[in-house]
């Protein structure tokens, strides 16, 4: 059996992720220097990169040595850096067990675990502290954030033991996280977020008020997005076995999509109001590519 890391992360994924630099948008306290910019002017100011000079830049930031070598004007950029306390919350409710025909056999939960593995790997590599929480109706497993390299094995082992199956209640879980994350940090929530959108938004707002930056990776299966079923179908709940309905999906589709749109709109608006990043990901996509795009987007925003 492969080690958990190799089981979930392919070689291309690892090479792509290793080149990523996660940039926290807000101010994050850290015990050791990292790649995350801080508004505090401290002793650990390090060179970031060169970029071409454009009119308006301060002339004192021009790298004259480089000008002498290349005869071109470049600006030296520096960044304040600090360590980041990250907590990755993985949803292991029954609905995460769904695996559609277009997801290459990967369930939403598996996708979430792989994404969490990537994030953990990347963050540990840049000396950030990473913790893990798995949850359904409540937090089942909680590993506090550590930045030691061997902490990655602990995280992967916990991820490997995660089994989806129960009902979910994200709002309760978020309130529980609020009690566990006392210090400023970054919380990654990897879930399909199925539930009552206003309750979830309310809990996000509470968590956000506790100086936690929140990033939600909302995992979708393609079937859940376009509801492609045509013939008469018995839908059996993955969370509660007694819950099943026999319907004509074609007749139901428009209403389903409307419900989906309303739910998503409510969640998006709540996240926007609370400055929470909501990243929707389909299991048919490459999680490393999604992660790469998200990091690039954050970089652009800074």
């Amino acid at each position: 059996m492969k080690a958990p890391l190799l089981r979930w992360l392919s070689a291309p994924d690892l090479s792509r992720v290793s080149r990523l630099q996660l940039l926290a948008k807000g101010v994050v306290e850290g015990v050791s220097g990292g790649l995350h910019r801080s508004h505090h002017i401290g002793s650990s100011i390090e060179f970031k990169e060169h970029r071409p000079y454009v009119p308006g830049d301060e002339t004192r930031t021009i790298d004259w040595k480089l000008f002498g070598k290349t005869d071109r004007l470049y600006i030296r950029q520096y960044e304040d850096e600090t360590n980041l306390r990250c907590t990755i919350a993985i949803d292991q409710s029954g609905s995460m067990k769904y695996s559609g025909s277009r997801s290459n056999g990967i369930s939403k939960h598996e996708f979430a675990v792989r994404l969490a593995a990537c994030l953990s790997y990347m963050l540990i590599n840049q000396q950030d502290a990473v913790g893990l929480a798995t949850f359904d109706t409540k937090i089942r497993t909680y590993i506090p954030p550590r930045s030691r390299p061997n902490h990655l094995q602990t995280l992967f082992a916990a991820m490997a033991e995660s089994r989806p199956g129960n009902e979910s209640d994200l709002s309760v879980v978020l309130q529980d996280l609020l009690n566990r994350c006392k210090r400023r940090g970054l919380v990654f929530i990897i879930s399909d977020c199925f539930g009552d959108a206003p309750s979830i938004v309310k809990s996000l707002a509470l968590l956000r008020s506790n100086y936690q930056e929140i990033v939600i990776f909302q995992i979708w299966d393609d079937d859940e997005i376009d509801f492609p079923f045509q013939s008469r179908t018995m839908f059996r709940s993955l969370e509660l076995e007694s819950n099943q309905v026999l319907v004509d999906p074609a007749g139901l589709r428009s209403t389903y999509l409307e419900n989906l749109r309303v739910f998503r709109q409510e969640l998006q608006q709540g996240c926007l109001q609370n400055r929470v990043d909501l990243i929707s990901i389909a299991t048919s996509e490459s999680y490393s590519a999604v992660l790469s795009n998200y990091i690039a987007m954050r970089r652009d925003r800074t």
Partner: protein, 770 residues
Amino acid sequence: MTLLNGLLAFGAAAFTIPLLIHLLHRSRYQTIDWGAMHFLQSSRNVNSRRVQWQQLLLLLLRCALPVLLALAMARPLLQSFLSASGPSVMSIAIVIDDSMSMFANDNSNRENAKATPLAVGTRFSAACKSAADILNSLPSGSNATVLFGGSKPETLTGQVPDAIAASLIGHSKRTVPAGGFALEESIRISLEWLAKSQYAHRKIVVISDFQRHEWSDQNSVQVANIAKLIALESIPPELAFINVSTVGEPKETLTQNNLFVASINVSSSLMTIDREVTLSASLGNTGPTRYDNVQVAVLADETEIDRQEISFAPNSTTLLRTRWSPKRIGDHVLRIQILRDDDLISDNRRELAVIVQEPIPILLVDGDRRGEAMQSETDYLRLALSPFSLLTSEKGDTFISKTIQPNELNDSILKSVRAVCLCNIRELSDVQQAWLRTFVERGNGLIVFLGDKVRSEHYESWPSLANNGLRIAKFQSRTKVTTEHANGDRIKTQQIEFAPIRELSSASLNSLAGVRFDHRSPMTLDPSALLNPSDASIALRFEDDQAWILESKIGDGHCLWVGSACDDDDSNLPTRSIFVPLIQKLVAFVSNANPPTSNAISTTGWSRTIDTLHTERSSVTDTLQVTKPDGTAVVIKLTAEGQLRFSDTRLLGKYMATLFQDETNRSFGPIFACSTTEEPLTRQESELTYLTPAEIDSVAISGKATVSASSKDFLANARADWQGREIWTWIWIALVVCFLAEIAMVQSLSPRARTKPTATPQQFVRGSTA
């Protein structure tokens, strides 16, 4: 409902195929373990009921397809409820309008006929043929009746439709109209006949030309009444109208020109031989076209006596006058004939039967005889009764008078006269009174003129009417009219009820109003002298309501009491122009003289006293043959009183009656004639204007009736009721509609059609918030 191809109807069982498919399909479904139940739960409640209905409707449509296909191929025949419940026999009453306007040319046939108007045929003949068609199309076993609905509706005998239809073909050739269309009475008779019918399916069919004059009034009143009458029936029959006025042609294109003879009159109140009378006829033109120099012939007993050229202005009436001197005693028929063909030929002629009689012998009894001319009262009466023989040498007086003294009055002399005038007689013996009583009872007349010689006490002593006498009043002595009498010197000429005077012209009545009285002999009706109050009455009175002329009926005769002298002693009456006609009217009245014309109203019948003076009653069998205007003859018997009474005078025209002889059974002797007219005599029947289709529909709605534009249309609808209506065409249409509906529904319910284009999963996740 019956099926022509019944076996094919079993194909309807194929409806089970889609039903089975549906049920099998319902039991098959896939199962998916699903996470996003949150979005499904709320959707399911909203959609499941709608989907169930859609599926059910689709199933019904699919089941209906084989059923409709099988039904259409089985050719179902739809029958009415009543006819479907048993044999489709029925009772039908057909009312044919045979009023004047129905005898207009049937212009719808003109194109085909390309012949003279006479060959075109009339609307009446078209109506008869339509009725015959209907009768021939009736289901076997049905019974029917046909009425001619003109004035005094006539029912054709027989109830077997085929026999009536054959009879109708003969009637269709009739060219003589009846009086105005009596729709309500016709329907009433039809309802009485239908009430006796044993069949529940009942129908009344009215065939008419919907002439505006007749139907505009009926539109508002009669047809509504008819609907009420029909509704009162225990089994209300269906009412249907058939319009036979120029079927298929718009009314506006019709030529409405029609010349007509409205009426004929004679000037004289009594006609005698060699006495010239003036004939006047009212002619008219109802159309917009002017006619110049139209020949109009005047015939007496089918012999032309005059011909005139008359021009007719559009929509006008004109008067024709001519003179005629009868040369023979007896009945004559005068006819005015317009010698020009138009759309309605029947009203181009009109007949008038006149009676020319011998001078009537009148006995004048003079109570104040004087030697000088024009001094005696009888001189004035002779002048009034026989003016021609006294003043000129011409013959032609209506009356022949003979004057006698009171003592010459006896039973034998009374046998040769028709009326007696007692002029200023002082007194009469009891025997003479008895003779006069008997004389009057036999149907003769008596006029008593009071005067200055009259002894009122003597007249008071006469036996009363109740005691087989003549007296009906109490008498007072002659008095002078003074100013104390409020207008007591003049006659009241308003509200006259006495028929002979009421018939006088207004000019004559004005002349009568100008008569002034110096003296009068007061009379007061004595109720004690009468058996019944109605036996006597005041015929004319003075302005102060005192009686001037009293009238009583005694037996078959009449007696008049005049409260003044008939000469100029009491009044200026002899000097007034009213004198001669007044005296002649009074004497004609009491002498029971025949009126100058023998003109009957079509609804009342012909009644005529056969003049026994001029027929040898002993040699006849009291049997008469009456020939009607359409040429048919009827044999009738005289009444016990020797009267001819013939009620079947609904056809307009001349009726001729002749006596039958015993042995040879051949007619002989004088011919009695009668002409019939409508009452009131109007020209509207000659106006060829009709209700528009919309107005006919309105009439039909008020009568809860159906309207057919022609007998063909009626039969098409009627056959559907009687024999059933094939409805396979409608079933095919329903089949196609169901088929198209099924396709449309399948398309709308198909997943492809119901799947709106949505964002791909990739587009969906790109829309995330960051």
